[in-house]
């Protein structure tokens, strides 16, 4: 866990010149400007539901009251679209959710203030999350929370099939066996969304990754990745694994398949907790970690957002103060309790995990979340390279046909397309 050195304006236009008497200069990082009292900040969020919106608004109100400022919370229906419009129009929100797929474009176009160290040192957060928001050796924005993938099992179906704790899917072989036993009638043993954002967890378990070791290029066609996809193909061929939507499973995503009884197991992240509580309260389920691959390595994927501050904001000092409050341990715990995302600080995450240890939950309770929390340590972040969205879409379109396709071809196709993005 390195201490970040002082950053002296890495060619980023964020180092604004105007200084007011109350401007604050962090010991490392860009010069912050603007008053810190009596300002109105624009705060753009992309909420997953009422729980998250209310939590964000409450946090904003609390900070605003204690510092004598105002916060204008905007819940966007399409964050990428609205942020792009705001940036190109020159009136971006002061603080906003920085999503991983958009992160690199924003950093490249100097729209993101490299505020990380001004808020808190990188060592306070999980390294994988810090890595997701580091571009060109600059820690741009503080990760706000994270969600990892784990397996959710319908405990009624598990018990009815006569499976016990010894059969929990801790290895690939056990997962295959469980999926086979749980596939009966119209219930499929394992259902996942047809996306690299699910299948990729198995790449990590096999010891593979998205990028090569030096981080200079992609490595989708590595033997480990091919091995992972071939393992999944084996399950799909026998009908123990199905992908939604389509493929004969009538659900929009894995959580819906679990909630409507079409799937016994699914692979989803923390957000499933809120969905099960509100939409499928009668389903009893538990959360277990994803299996270890052939080499005994555990792997999962992590999805995270960061607290982005606009480089061209007129009140960056106030914005940093706001983000400091939002990223504080107490506030992170409040967010976690409100809608189930995991704090990005290891200490706070452990504390939150201790509070939720019930092993069997109906949809109305929060299940044992230790599986989600431990995943933070070894999780792969999403790809942030500009233009990767189209490459991922092309791969996702082929996943439905995995049973009859060639994993090697699918992966080398994605590798070719992804590498083409890195050529200038």
């Amino acid at each position: 866990m390195k201490r970040w050195k002082a950053i002296t304006g890495l060619g980023v236009s964020a180092a604004l010149v105007a200084m007011t008497p109350t401007a604050a200069t962090a010991s490392s990082g860009p010069t912050l400007v603007g008053r810190t009292h009596g300002v109105t900040l624009n705060f753009m969020i992309a909420s997953s539901g009422p729980a998250e919106t209310n939590a964000d608004k409450a946090a904003a109100a609390a900070w605003a009251k204690s510092t004598g400022n105002k916060v204008n919370t905007i819940n966007s229906s399409n964050l990428t679209l609205q942020l792009t419009e705001a940036f190109s129009g020159g009136t971006p929100p002061d603080v906003f959710y920085g999503e991983t797929p958009m992160f690199e474009s924003m950093a490249k176009n100097a729209q993101l203030l490299p505020s990380g160290p001004s808020v808190d040192p990188a060592s306070d957060f999980y390294p994988s999350l810090v890595q997701a928001y580091t571009y060109n050796h600059t820690f741009y924005c503080v990760p706000k929370d994270s969600s990892t993938l784990a397996i959710e099992i319908n405990t009624d179906m598990w018990n009815a099939a006569g499976l016990t704790n010894a059969d929990l899917p801790t290895t690939w072989a056990k997962l295959a066996y469980d999926a086979k036993v749980l596939t009966t009638g119209h219930v499929t043993g394992l259902v996942m969304s047809n996306s690299l954002d699910r299948v990729g967890a198995f790449f990590a378990e096999a010891g593979g990754s998205y990028m090569n070791k030096s981080g200079t290029g992609f490595a989708f066609n590595s033997p480990q990745d091919v091995q992972a996809l071939t393992y999944l193909q084996g399950l799909a061929k026998k009908g123990y694994l199905k992908f939604t939507p389509g493929d004969g499973v009538d659900a929009g995503w894995g959580g819906e398949a679990l909630g409507t009884g079409l799937a016994a197991m699914t692979v989803e992240g923390n957000w499933i907790i809120g969905a099960m509580q509100s939409d499928y309260p009668k389903i009893p389920y538990e959360v277990v970690p994803l299996p270890a691959g052939p080499t005994g390595k555990h792997g999962t994927l992590v999805f995270t957002n960061c607290w982005g501050i606009a480089a061209s904001s007129k009140y960056t000092a106030a914005a940093v103060s706001f983000v400091k409050y939002l990223a504080s341990p107490a506030q992170q715990l409040r967010f976690a309790n409100a809608f189930g995302v995991m704090p990005s600080r290891p200490s706070v995450a452990q504390e939150w995990a201790k509070e939720h240890t019930t092993t069997v939950a109906t949809g109305t309770e929060t299940p044992n979340v230790s599986a989600f929390v431990q995943g933070n340590v070894y999780a792969l972040p999403q790809v942030a390279t500009v233009g990767f969205a189209t490459v991922e879409t092309a791969f996702n379109n082929e996943i439905d046909g995995l049973a009859s396709a060639s994993p090697r071809q699918m992966l080398s196709g994605m590798q070719t397309n992804a590498q083409a993005l890195l050529q200038p």
């Binding site: 792009t84 474009s105 176009n109 729209q111 004969g248 500009v386 233009g387 969205a389 189209t390 092309a394």
Partner: protein
Amino acid sequence: MATVPQTGAPINTRGELTADAPAPRDGARAKPKSGRSRLRRGENLFGWLFVSPSVAILVLFMVIPIFLALYVSFTNWSGLTSPFSHSVQFVGLTNYRTLVTRPGLYQTDFATSIRDNFYFFLFTVPLQTVLALWLANLVNSKFLRAKGFFRTAFYFPSVTSSIAITIVFIFLFQGDGVVNTILGWFGAKGPDWIYDQNGVFTNILNGLGISSPGWGNHMFIGLSLWNWVAGPSIGMCVLIILLVWTTSGTFMLFFLAAMQAIGEEVDEASSIDGTTPWQRFRFVTVPMLRPALVLVVTLGFISTWQVFDQVVLLGPQNPTTITPSYFAYQVSFQDSNFGAGAAVAFLLFCLIIFLTVLQRRFIKEDLTK
């Protein structure tokens, strides 16, 4: 002296009004020459005044953005800064080359979207024209009661929100939705409508025993020939049904107006001559509807190449329902590559113009000209 017309203005021997207009009886015509052109100028001014809000909106929201998009298509603008900022570089025809000539994901995706939209157009335009014509004929019938009700009922889908209709269609065509349940009553197992990527022609050819023939492997702009002739996918068929149902109401009105302009005497004359209703329709009504037919086909043709609303809801999961306009949106916002997105839009524009010109050459609107 020549006859004085009723206004009282004198006419000379050649029958022309003399330049000096004497005091006429009708006061309104007493205005001098300069006054008359002042009135004309006033009319002009008011004309422009009334039209100016629409013109302003058109210029501001259509003409200027079109030229801006043309400029953007020659740059590498990411959309996250002003398009005129110094970080935006001029790249010439690179965006166009990436879409058409350079092998890669964009070329394949663009060719797929063109192919999808082409089949969509091929099936939608004839179907909606025929349906609109048939409906117009029904509603125009002398013996139909409650014409107003039927006109409203057929026209109603066109004024309903396209998003609302699409959501209902998604609901109906789901794997275990209403359509498949009804098909189940007849013992047929319906496909997973919206997500099925298999082309209709591919299915037919497979049924005949032909699959992956040798000639199918030749590549043409990033797609194999076998893919080009795959036909509309099942997912695209849902979109076709949706569009035909929604737009035939509007075109029915065009045909209805044209039919009612034909008048009853023509119909009566031809029935006196001893024609059957079908002959009447085919040899008398339809030829007289030719201008309306050409209008409907042209409008239908142009609008099918611009389908977007329905694809946003129905399409993203199924690559065979992506249209070029949706592809431009996807590339622009998700990849932060507005240069390529604008290039897609202009390539589409050129394609539409080219096909429209072809169509106008081969289908003359008025045979008498």
